[in-house]
Amino acid sequence: MNAGYVGRRLLTTVYTLLVVSFLVFAMTQLLPADAAVTLLGNSATPEALASVRAQLGLDQPAWWQYWHWFSGVLSGDFGQSMRTGQAVAPMMFGALGRSLLLAFLALVLMLVIAIPLGIVSALRRGKAADLIIGIISYVGISLPEFVTATVLALLFADVLGWLPATGYVPLTEDVAGWLAHMILPTLTVSMILVAHVSRMVRSEMVDVMASDYIRAARLKGLSSRRVVLHHALRNAMLPTITIVALDVGYLLGGIIVVEEIFAIPGIGRALIVAVQSRDLPAIQAGVLIIAATYALANFLADLAYAWLDRRIQYA
């Protein structure tokens, strides 16, 4: 892969993040929350409020505040939480780590299930297997995650009692406990994505299997396995990668809901708490981190795409 292409994509990603940081900052400026009031409460004296504002730099012009905040972000300092008074960065990155583990598990589970499902339904198009997979997929797509989560929790935690319904055990303390707590959230998050991605793989696979080069590959006398896995899947995966990268955005949104339901202390929960307590530095950090994750996922997808299809780099 040529360095120029990687450099160009990286530059675009950095540019996107700059714009996002600006928007995030502008958004918090527009919020009807006065940081000084949030800190001191409604009964504070005007003098106390003024001194806190001066201390936080709230009396400075907006561009100065932005620069102050942004230069801090660049050095990893997202400011102090207004709720706890502690630094935002370690809190948010800790939460992000737990969320990313969940997202990663969900993504892997999704790919492991969705790609074979897509291939099978494409190869058996119109047959019973295709129909059944199709119906399950559409049910999966149409169920919102809070329904899936509730049903799964009812079934596996309440009725069967196999798994804990809510809560979280750190991976470093107890691997088995961590896994037990992660299974239901992972299933919930990957459910909708499985449906989405398997449909995508199916339709791409159907198109690719009808292409001239697949016909040529078959008429070379190659085995069906080689034709499907070596020749067809690679091409069918190309548009799928783009979809998966877009789905990461959805995944992060879905995780906020799922973390809340299963009480997992991830970035989604941290963000909800921050919004509820009008903790501006924490909101800014949370939104920026989620945006950065999303941008990074798209950057990686671009690289994967270019690696699979060498024509991309010249476009």
Partner: protein, 561 residues
């Protein structure tokens, strides 16, 4: 006949469609002896490609076979088990496809696609396969075979791809190869190289081949025997050399007659004299230094000092077209000939000057509209240029709405007359484009252009997608319309045989340059430029295949004269 290598006996095939059963092949019997090349010639819909799929046992799901047998070296293929079939395919029974760009997987290197064939059918290790592949590619005069193996299909030219594919097919030591129009997607000169390669490898290996094509001139030159396929039946089988000189079956005769013969002019000599007089008037259209650049350079790219992506598709081009004159523009793909058409019709921006009747085209809206009316364009693919959601009547009526109805005619009368002029049934006005055949659609496109009462019609490869017999009737129609309306044509084509039949003057294009501008006679006597000579030498002609063509057989194209 018993020692035939490939033998097809009374084989019939049909497709089940929504409209019932559609017969495709009807009692086909043919055989290919060891070392023999049998050509199968037919127009679209004749079943020639279905025959190839039937032999390769790669039939569509809706295909139904109605008996008959297909045998390779005595082994019946129609009842073969899948595993045995896979061992045959690509090995003893190989196939070379029409479009090498489509037949190669865009995401895998050429090497990986060649090596998998060799390891599969030669039973060698990857290292050994690699050695064979390098040797094979070197053998067919491809440069740097080692680095070529590491390249992706888009990094190779069409001719290189097809030569590599053919070399690969031969390297698997086939007994019989099926060629499905292997040169149709290539430029003339690349096609000539591929044919030369085919001839050489065939001589070296003694492989038997079935060569499928729509091009009678080409097939008769390379095949020992030619089978002519009409609507699923073989109507004639004759030695390649004989089929042009003395075709027996009326269908073959009409096919032969429809093949453009550069020696047979379709424009009467008296017209050329009249055209010489016409030259006293100011030329209808004058092009001065028309040039076109594609691509654009962004400000960011300039700051970053990136290489300029702009390239010149057409170098400054001068041409005068007289009233009623037919000027041909010939060249390969990428020569700039279609760019010229787009520049003249304002579809791309150009530099240089266009004069109409000796005067600069006015830049007022009225002046531009007048120019657009007088200079009409007909595209190569009617499927792309006719809006599929409009009826034929609306499509043609649009020209009348834009440029005004002739006096004393209603819109529907004018549309009906337009359709009659291109010899279509006026009732077609209520149909949609997809209900028409390719030839009919192209006639509609021509009718639409003529509804504007143009002075010059630019024809951009308008017959390239048509069968040769349909092409002949479309050409006859154009000449007839010109006789009636005195229209001039700028006829853009890659077919140098065809252009020699109809053009008064021919411009030869090569990589954006006009390398030659000659009258038809001068071109026939001997072209000046080396590229034109190479182009003519690479083009198979009917004249080089047969000396005598009875005039009687020329009926379909001559009835307009």
């Amino acid at each position: 006949m018993n020692d035939a290598l490939l033998r097809i006996d009374d084989y019939s095939l049909s497709y089940t469609t929504a409209h019932g059963s559609l017969p495709v092949l009807d009692g086909v019997t043919l055989s290919v002896a060891p070392g023999e090349v049998v050509g199968v010639v037919g127009e679209s819909g004749s079943g020639k490609t279905s025959l190839a799929w039937a032999i390769m046992r790669y039939l569509a799901g809706n295909a139904i076979e109605h008996g008959g047998s297909i045998q390779l070296q005595g082994e019946e293929l129609t009842t073969l088990k899948a595993a045995r079939l896979r061992a045959l395919r690509g090995g003893r029974l190989g196939m070379v496809f029409q479009d090498p760009s489509a037949a190669l997987n865009p995401t895998l290197t050429l090497g990986s696609q060649m090596l998998e064939m060799l390891t599969r059918h030669r039973g060698v290790s990857r290292g050994e396969a690699r050695r064979i592949a390098i040797e094979t590619l070197g053998d067919v005069d491809l440069k740097n075979p080692e680095s070529m193996l590491a390249r992706y299909p888009h990094e190779l030219s069409g001719g290189e791809k097809q030569r590599a594919l053919i070399a690969g097919a031969f390297a698997c030591r086939p007994a019989c190869l099926i060629f499905d129009e292997p040169t149709t997607a290539l430029d003339v000169i690349n096609a000539a190289q591929v044919l030369e390669l085919f001839g050489r490898l065939r001589e070296e290996t003694g492989v038997a081949a079935l060569y499928i094509s729509h091009d009678l001139a080409l097939v008769s030159r390379i095949a020992d025997h030619v089978c002519v396929l009409e609507k699923g039946r073989i109507v004639e089988r004759a030695p390649g050399r004989k089929i042009f000189a003395a075709p027996d079956h009326p269908y073959t005769q009409s096919l032969v007659a429809a093949v453009p013969n550069p020696r047979r002019r379709l424009v009467a000599e008296s017209e050329i004299a009249a055209h010489a007089n016409a030259r006293e008037r100011p030329p209808l259209l004058t092009l001065r230094g028309i040039s076109v650049d594609y691509g654009q350079r962004t400000t960011l790219a300039r700051w970053l000092k990136r290489p300029d992506p702009r390239f010149r598709a057409l170098n400054p081009f001068d041409l005068e077209i007289a009233h009623g004159e037919i000027v041909g523009v010939v060249g390969e793909s990428g020569s700039g000939k279609s760019t010229l058409a787009k520049a003249l019709t304002g579809l791309v921006n150009h530099r240089g000057e266009i004069l109409l009747d000796g005067e600069a085209v006015s830049s007022t809206p009225r002046g531009r509209a007048d120019y657009r009316r007088r200079v009409q364009l007909v595209f190569q693919h009617p499927d792309g240029s006719l809006n599929p959601r409009q009826r034929i009547g609306e499509l043609i009526g649009r020209s009348y709405r834009l440029y005004g109805l002739p006096e004393g005619e209603t819109l529907s009368q004018a549309v009906a007359r337009s359709l009659e002029e291109v010899r279509l049934d006026p009732t077609l006005a209520s149909r949609y484009p997809h209900e028409l055949s390719g030839g009919q659609k192209q006639r509609v496109a021509i009718a639409r252009a003529f509804a504007a009462r143009p002075d010059v019609v630019i024809c951009d490869e308008i017959t390239a997608a048509l069968d040769v017999s349909v092409q002949a009737t479309v050409i006859a129609l154009l000449l007839d319309l010109r006789r009636r309306h005195g229209t001039a044509y700028l006829f853009i084509t890659h077919d140098i045989n065809l252009i020699q039949q109809i053009a008064h003057r021919v411009a030869v294009m090569y990589r954006g340059d006009r390398v030659e501008l000659s009258s038809a006679e001068e071109l026939a006597d001997g072209p000046k430029h080396a590229y034109t000579r190479a182009l003519l030498a690479a083009t198979p002609t009917i004249a080089s295949s047969a000396r005598v063509i009875d005039d009687e057989f020329s009926a379909p194209t001559m009835d307009q004269e």
